[in-house]
């Protein structure tokens, strides 16, 4: 995929001259750095790269990229990006969104972009809170969450973004987190390489309104025992000594076990390319929240024609069949008569 004519660039070339304005200590900084560091490695051109966002803290990211970009309106980025991506298949279109933006006000656009398999790389910064509006609970906040708008605790059941994306027929679904640049870069690289809609959930710390929401699993000392790396073709194991693993019980439920107790041969081997999304969905339900062992990595990566390419194909076929459009012929295509 590397185009030798693409000029060599550095992170600096991909950074705009705008001052970054997130709260000091926000997880968004490390995500931005991961994106800016990844771009020179992708072999793509700045002018062919577009970042489209909605509204929210995450949505500011396009301003900081020295590429084309649009800071849109709340929830609508997948719709706007769909129009761009299907008409300009030559572009790399990224969607930057958050849990409120993508899963609340823009839920409809997200699921349809995934279903259609529009060629987009969608990065969802999940901080489980509304940051820009100063701290209301979001559609991923846990039940019981006390916020300004839920002083007695939230009674809403949250979305699991990975389960939602899988249910929406997404062809690429992954999770990463803001404390591990290497994992983020690797996940983003895979997402970018995917043809069609790629969905990445990023656990992101909002240190002002929801500090430490993911600390129990992403903290440096907790990761080994709490993050379950999904690696295609490998048994699903974790723990400092790889002593833990995931297996399917007799009912088809995913279960965390000690490898020594069940035997290595009974540990589930991860297959991200499985056509049938049921197993990926089961894995997405393994953790009920970011406070117990949670899978990260690529849940699903399958091939399906992308929407823009399929539409383009129809255009080509129509021109082959009917010849290029002729306005004069169109105007007289109905019953005509001479006066």
């Amino acid at each position: 995929m590397t185009d030798v004519s693409v000029p060599v660039t550095t992170k600096k070339d991909w950074s705009s001259d705008q001052e970054v304005r997130w709260c000091p200590g926000c997880g968004d900084y490390s995500i931005l750095t991961a994106v800016q560091m990844l771009m020179p490695e992708l072999g793509v051109r700045r002018e062919n790269t577009v970042f489209v966002s909605g509204i929210g803290c995450a949505a500011r990211l396009p301003y900081y990229m020295n590429t084309y970009g649009m800071h849109g309106i709340h929830g609508r980025a997948p719709a706007i990006a769909t129009g761009l991506a299907v008409t300009r298949p030559d572009l790399d279109v990224w969607v930057i969104t958050g849990d409120g933006d993508a899963l609340s006000i823009g839920g409809n656009h997200l699921i349809h972009a995934l279903r259609r398999n529009v060629n987009l790389t969608i990065l969802l910064f999940n901080n489980q809170i509304y940051g820009l509006t100063k701290g209301q609970y979001s559609p991923t906040s846990e039940v019981g969450k006390v916020t300004k708008s839920t002083p007695f605790g939230s009674v809403d059941t949250p979305f699991n973004p990975i389960s939602l994306a899988l249910g929406a027929e997404a062809t690429f679904v992954a999770r990463t987190h803001d404390m591990d640049r290497k994992h983020m870069m690797e996940t983003f690289r895979r997402a970018h390489a995917h043809k069609g809609a790629a969905f990445v959930e990023i656990y992101q710390n909002c240190n002002v309104f929801n500090d430490g929401a993911f600390e129990q699993i992403t903290g440096r000392e907790n990761r080994a025992s709490q993050l379950i790396p999904l690696v295609h073709g490998e048994p699903i194991r974790f723990g400092a000594e790889q002593e833990m693993g995931v297996r399917l019980d007799g009912q088809g439920r995913a279960q965390i076990v000690r490898v020594a107790d069940v035997g290595e041969e009974h540990i589930l081997v991860h297959d991200e390319a499985r056509e049938e999304p049921g197993l990926a969905f089961t894995l997405s339900r393994l953790a009920r929240g970011p406070h117990e062992p949670t899978p990260i990595g690529v849940f699903r990566a399958v091939e399906r024609p992308d929407y823009g390419a399929a539409l383009q194909q129809q255009l080509v076929e129509a021109q082959e069949r009917k010849g290029p459009g002729d306005l004069k012929a169109l105007l007289s295509s109905g019953a005509t008569w001479q006066v």
């Binding site: 008409t87 459009g325 004069k328 105007l331 019953a335």
Partner: protein
């Protein structure tokens, strides 16, 4: 031509026929075929379909009545006619729903087979109106169309239940004879349309011929009538509806702009036909996206506009409300975008299949903040073609969203259209930015001093990478700016850019008459009714002037001066006075409003009466 030697032929200058029946009776099809045959014959014509909002309203009830009115004429006409001269009623409900519009002396043709007790009850008749004297004011022809159709189609081999469904072709054959239409186009059409269903094709053909023969031989009809071809300007003509003309106008606009066309749309009555039509023309490079909702339809269009397409969205009624937020973003981003609103009765779901002109103030003001945009309106079905091109021209030149207003009446109505010469349509292309514009940098909001348009730099252009967004931008650099003075300056610039379009608009075309001191000012689909009313008033020897606006924002520069020449101004509108409010506010003119919100267009007589009242006051 048809042989009608058995009966004398009377010449008429025009005739208005209304076909009315149950939704399932195929009345739209019948009306449409009659229209096509008349068009080929060279008549001028104007049509108005009127169908229920329910897809399958209960059969035989008033709610389920579907009608199609056509006015055919030997001279140029402007409306589908106020009242029908002839009413074809296929069942009691159709009679009950429409007979009120038939003037005394009008002709009534009924399918007498359907006047049984059950159907009469469903229609709300206590006793049959046939023979009780209630229809004495009309010339009534009772024709047992159902039984004659079943009899005539026997040899085609259809089951009686199916054969009965050809009765609309019997009616069509009868009317074809009565009005001396050519038979050949319809017979050929039946063969082609039902090619895959030979039994249906045969039944319809037999029913049509039987209807024709019935007219020719039955003693019922004393005359056949002829409406001679109209004296239209020479050229090649086609019959076109507003929605198809609009779709073709968009294709033409993209061609003239040398850009690919993109439509993002969500199905909604009465705008969906534009989506259908454009979806057919992929060989023109047209991409259509049936979006997940109205918001996504316009959102995708805006994304496509950012990428350098001629982008549009089509909608109606509640759909326009939903798009408001994205239109506001387009105003802020200053990107070309077409929003096509086929107005229908509101508020809310309102009257989905009926016409109204009640979105003018919505188009003008229906967004938060100071958010002006240009508005154009089509005045006849075929005028939708050139209005689409004009909307695109403004959008591209000034990098602005433009709202194009059509309505249900124009969308579904049809008229003969003299085909424009495709080669003579003016180029509307604009250049993309390709070079830095400020000391080696690219400033996305550095404007053309003449038009105030900002440069359109599309992704893929090296060196012009830039970010746009809905937050207020600094004039010039386009960077985020919360500076109070800059926001005020940008607000004024956006307003001035739209207002400045007036400088290049043609002056108001006034149909003036010496001595007239009343000006009738209209916009949109009232064009035909106003024109007909003005003619009638003049025929009575009274003086009146008229003018019709295509550009509603900004107004033509000389509009204020034109208005000041008249002592009285009358503005007929299918709303509660929206243009008149704008005119009064803008020009301090005491314009009088004539309003109608019945889901039906104005009758010429309604406007005529108002004019007469005002000129004699």
């Amino acid at each position: 031509m048809t042989d009608t030697t058995a009966r004398p032929i009377k010449e008429l200058d025009h005739v208005v026929i209304r076909f009315a029946g149950d939704s399932g009776d195929g009345m739209q099809l019948t009306g449409d075929r009659f229209t096509s045959a008349s068009a080929v014959f060279g008549n001028d014509l104007s049509t108005m379909p009127d169908f229920p909002a329910e897809i399958r309203a209960p059969a035989g009830t008033l709610a389920g009545v579907s009608a199609f009115q056509v006015n055919i004429s030997d001279h140029d006409i402007l409306t589908p006619g106020d009242e029908p001269d002839v009413l074809v009623a296929m069942n009691p409900a159709a009679l009950k729903a429409n007979v009120g519009d038939l003037p005394r002396g009008g002709t009534l043709i009924v399918n007498s087979d359907t006047f049984d007790e059950r159907s009469l009850t469903k229609a709300g008749y206590a006793a049959s109106p046939l023979g009780d004297g209630s229809l004495d004011a009309f010339t009534v022809y009772e024709v047992p169309m159902t039984s004659l159709t079943i009899e005539a189609t026997k040899e085609a081999g259809a089951k009686p239940r199916d054969a009965e469904r050809s009765k609309n072709f019997f009616a069509l054959g009868l009317l074809t004879w009565m009005y001396t239409r050519p038979e050949e186009p319809t017979l050929q059409w039946i063969t082609e349309r039902f090619a895959s269903k030979p039994v249906v094709a045969a039944s319809n053909t037999l029913a049509f011929k039987a209807g024709h023969a019935f007219g020719e031989t039955a003693e019922l009809f004393s005359n056949a009538y002829e409406v001679r071809p109209a004296d239209l300007a020479p050229g090649e003509y086609t019959s076109i509806t507003g929605n198809v003309a609009l779709a073709w106008g968009l294709i033409a606009a993209a061609h003239l702009a040398k850009l690919p066309l993109f439509l993002g749309s969500y199905p909604i009555t009465p705008a969906s036909d534009i989506l259908h039509e454009l979806s057919k023309h992929k060989n023109f490079g047209v991409r259509t996206l049936q979006a997940e909702d109205e918001i996504a339809g316009v959102g995708a269009a805006l994304g496509a506009a950012f990428g350098g397409q001629l982008a549009c969205t089509t909608t109606s009624g509640p759909g326009v409300d939903l798009k408001a937020e994205t239109i506001g973003l387009a105003i802020s981003l200053e990107l070309p975008l077409l929003i096509i609103d086929i107005q229908r009765g509101g508020p809310s779901t309102g009257l989905p299949t009926k016409t109204e002109q009640s979105d003018l103030l919505l188009a003008m003001y229906g967004r938060h903040g100071e958010s002006p945009l240009p508005i154009v309106a089509a005045k006849t079905p075929s005028h939708c073609f050139e209005t689409a091109i004009e909307a695109a021209r403004i959008a591209l030149k000034y990098r602005t969203p433009v709202i194009l207003l059509s309505d249900g009446y124009l969308a579904n109505g049809s008229e003969p259209w003299k085909l424009p010469n495709a080669e003579e349509l003016a180029d509307i292309s604009v250049p993309f930015a390709t070079e830095p514009n400020h000391e080696g940098e690219f400033w996305p909001y550095l404007r053309d001093p003449e038009t105030l348009a900002r440069p359109w730099a599309i992704p893929g252009t090296p060196g012009l990478e830039h970010r746009v967004g809905g937050i207020e931008k600094a004039e010039g650099t386009g960077n985020i700016s919360y500076d109070p003075a800059n926001h005020e300056a940008m607000t004024h610039i956006r307003a001035a850019k739209v207002a400045g379009i007036a400088k290049e608009l043609p002056g108001v075309e006034v149909d003036h008459e010496d001595g007239a001191d009343l000006l009738v000012l209209g916009w949109g689909s009232t064009y035909g009714a106003i024109g007909a009313a003005v003619r009638r008033v003049r025929a009575r020897g009274q003086k009146v002037a008229s003018a019709h606006l295509v550009h509603l924002n900004p107004f033509p520069l000389d509009l204020g001066e034109v208005l000041s020449r008249y002592r009285q101004v009358l503005i007929p509108e299918m709303n509660l006075g929206q243009l008149s409010r704008l005119i009064r506010a803008e020009f301090l003119v005491d314009a009088k409003s004539l309003t109608k919100v019945q889901g039906q267009p104005f009758r010429a007589s309604e406007i005529e009466n108002k004019i007469l009242e005002m000129v004699s006051a």
